[in-house]
């Protein structure tokens, strides 16, 4: 029988507003991550000498997140010196890529116990501050028809005919679902408060949620990417999509993913290792997939990645009970649902990154823990997490609750 990779535990910090007035701004990224590693260790009475590798997604790995934040945090957490660790960057897919890679390691038999996750302090290390030739090298930018992701999201909305009203309505639902889930304690299982060096709580809940969001309030907001579009990025987009006359800029701060700080980690291992350490599997990682699509529209990868992962698993869409589709922008999830005909009742049932924020490198692990918690709560079986990714990529993972 094929070896399987199991999830023994999945935890995350709450997401703090990613600005100077956000609660987690005062917390260094290395501390954000090492604290959550300590929590994982404590919760599972984990002998860390049994962990073979720690894989941490981080999209802006410079300065305070630079070097190898994974190994640094493992040492800061006092984990056994035998634990190897590295940071990876597959843009917004990083946290889920870490999980998929951990599962591959375990399923290959080369490793038995791996921790995967991600960290991003967007308040301290700004998105894009690492520089990248896709935007900053003119030759590359020109040859690859680079446009910023917000304009890509508006391009999707224009092609699909999603109006401002449509995306705002989607965003309001995300807020409503997130507020309800947070209030009812649906996140309590995987949420570990961020504490200071004295054990005093710094943040215990997802603070980006706007309980009192209204359609009226959202309608007032200016589109965030209109100016960039007008400066010329619309023209680049229209060269690739000549069937359009103009880009309809519908995405605003209210219907785009929030800029936040956070970290998440997932304990993944083989059946034998779980038995030896007395760890009870919560889920089986059924399959994972990455792929890539047209880079200028950039954010349509979830559909392709979902088709691919289902094919790998030999499953059909109907087999999936719950989907977590990262709400990078409202149009991304709306297009995914339209492409695959997935009903609202199955998608982001507890809200998503529009309401709670998208801590880039951590999000993949965050939404996987969210779908696992919800499968357990509902007594359902299969969950699928997917994200759109820079460069046109898409990633998806299927888990089976046990």
């Amino acid at each position: 029988m094929a070896r399987e990779a199991y999830i023994f535990d999945a935890i995350r910090t709450p997401r703090g507003k990613g600005k100077k007035d956000g609660s987690l701004y005062e917390v260094k990224p290395v501390t954000l991550l090492s604290n959550v590693l300590c929590d994982l260790q404590e919760r599972n009475r984990l002998d860390t000498s049994q962990v073979e590798d720690l894989i941490i997604g981080c999209v802006t790995p410079i300065g305070e997140q630079g070097g190898n934040i994974a190994k640094t945090a493992a040492l800061a957490a006092g984990w056994d010196e035998i634990v190897a660790a590295f940071q990876l960057n597959r843009y917004c897919a990083s946290g889920l890529e870490a999980v998929n890679l951990a599962a591959m390691k375990v399923r290959s038999g080369w490793e038995e116990l791996v921790v995967a996750g991600g960290v991003e302090s967007m308040s301290r290390v700004a998105m894009g501050s690492d520089g990248s030739p896709n935007a900053l090298d003119p030759e590359t930018s020109i040859n690859t028809a680079f446009i910023p992701q917000g304009v890509s999201a508006d391009l999707i909305a224009t092609l699909e005919g999603f109006s401002r009203e449509d995306v705002d309505r989607f965003a309001l639902e995300s807020q409503r679902k997130a507020a309800a889930a947070s209030e009812k304690g649906y996140f309590a299982k995987s949420l570990v408060p961020v504490r200071d060096r004295n054990g005093l709580t710094i943040l215990a809940h997802d603070e980006f949620i706007r309980k009192d969001a209204t359609m009226d309030g959202m309608r007032q907001l200016k589109p965030s990417f209109e100016a960039m579009g007008a400066a010329g990025f619309d023209a680049i987009a229209l060269t690739k999509y000549p069937q359009l006359k103009a880009i309809n800029h519908v995405h605003s701060p209210a219907n785009s993913s929030g800029i936040v700080d956070g970290a998440a980690v997932i304990l993944i291992g083989s059946e034998a290792k779980g038995k030896a350490l007395g760890l009870k599997p919560r889920a089986r990682i059924v399959a994972g997939a990455v792929t890539s699509t047209e880079p200028t529209i950039m954010l349509t990868g979830p559909t392709a990645a979902t088709r691919k992962v289902l094919a790998i698993a030999g499953m059909s869409l109907d087999d999936i009970d719950l989907f977590e589709v990262n709400e990078a922008f409202a149009a991304v999830v709306m297009k995914f649902q339209r492409d695959l005909n997935v009903p609202d009742e199955k998608v982001n049932v507890n809200g998503g990154a529009i309401a709670m924020g998208h801590p880039l490198g951590a999000t993949g692990a965050v939404i996987l823990s969210t779908v696992l918690d919800e499968l357990e709560r509902r007594n359902q079986r299969y969950g699928l997490a997917t994200l759109c990714v820079g460069g046109g990529m898409g990633i998806a993972t299927i888990i089976e609750r046990l």
Partner: protein
């Protein structure tokens, strides 16, 4: 009853000085007194504020530890009290009116920290007076924002050695290193000099509250500061002074505070201090 005297002159300049009632002095007494006097300043029509030395420096009435932890409190309580005190000093320094410290007596520890919230510091040039932040000797770091304000005022390179050595200097030396801005020879001139400064600087504010303020020498991201930070732990280890754990905490709190904004830095300062206070990492 208020712990501060409050005297307003014909130019609408208010002089406040600490005049605590008899009995034990704690962070709570000071906090309550500050709250009252600042609320009064905020609602009064004032041209400026002089904070003068009280009739007796409170460092002579309570040790730093007693001040912070009287009666025996939990970590959370100490932290919350510090937070309240720091908010008060933030209110004072952002009153929108010039605030000048008039130092005519010893000003050590918490007392000097209050003076650091002033926009300008004048002291009497008496060689027997001591000014500074000696907390390290008690196994502590400054508690009322003194560590953070010293870093924001002087930069990491200059502030760190002062904090780690538990600086106690005569007014003249304190002026040389930048803890004091101005000296007067005669105690009788102190108030008038303070008031002259207020009249000449009606729009005074803290440098760090002005837009675009940069910590002298730069933040920890600056290559020269980064170089200093890389070797700092090794230097402390080599020195291996009895106060090393405290000096390490000072180093961490100062560097971390310089990476964020002032309000976050003040919280970080409190967190390290509370840890020291309860760990018993004594001198």
């Amino acid at each position: 009853m208020s712990g501060f005297r409050y005297e307003k002159d014909g130019d609408k300049i208010v002089t406040i000085s600490l005049d605590l009632p008899a009995g034990p002095v704690s962070s709570e007494t000071i906090s309550r007194s500050l709250d009252e006097v600042i609320a009064r300043l905020e609602s009064d029509d004032v041209a400026g504020v002089v904070i003068a030395s009280g009739k007796e420096p409170f460092s002579s009435r309570a040790s730093a530890r007693e001040l912070l932890n009287f009666p025996k409190l939990s970590r959370k309580d100490v932290y919350d009290r510090l937070a309240a005190l720091k908010v008060r000093l933030r209110r004072l320094e952002s009153l929108g009116k010039p605030v000048v410290a008039a130092i005519g007596d010893n000003a050590l520890g918490a007392e000097f920290e209050i003076f650091l919230a002033a926009h300008h510091r004048v002291a009497v040039n008496r060689p027997d007076l001591l000014i500074g932040l000696p907390d390290v000797a008690a196994g502590l770091l400054p508690s009322l924002g003194g560590l953070v304000r010293l870093v924001y005022l002087l930069g990491l390179e200059k502030a760190l050695p002062l904090l780690q050595d538990g600086v106690r200097l005569s007014p003249e030396k304190a002026c040389e290193v930048g803890l004091i801005n101005e000296l007067v020879a005669d105690a009788d001139d102190l108030l008038s000099r303070a008031k002259t400064w207020i009249k000449a600087n009606p729009a005074a504010a803290q440098a760090w509250d002005k837009k675009g303020y940069q910590i002298p020498g730069g933040t920890p991201a600056h290559p020269r500061i980064a170089q200093m930070i890389i070797t700092a732990p090794a230097i402390l280890r080599k020195k291996n002074d009895p106060t090393r754990p405290t000096q390490e905490a000072i180093l961490c709190a100062a560097v971390e505070g310089a990476q964020v904004d002032l309000d976050s830095a003040l919280r970080i300062e409190s967190r390290y201090l509370v840890e020291l206070l309860f760990s018993g990492a004594k001198a």
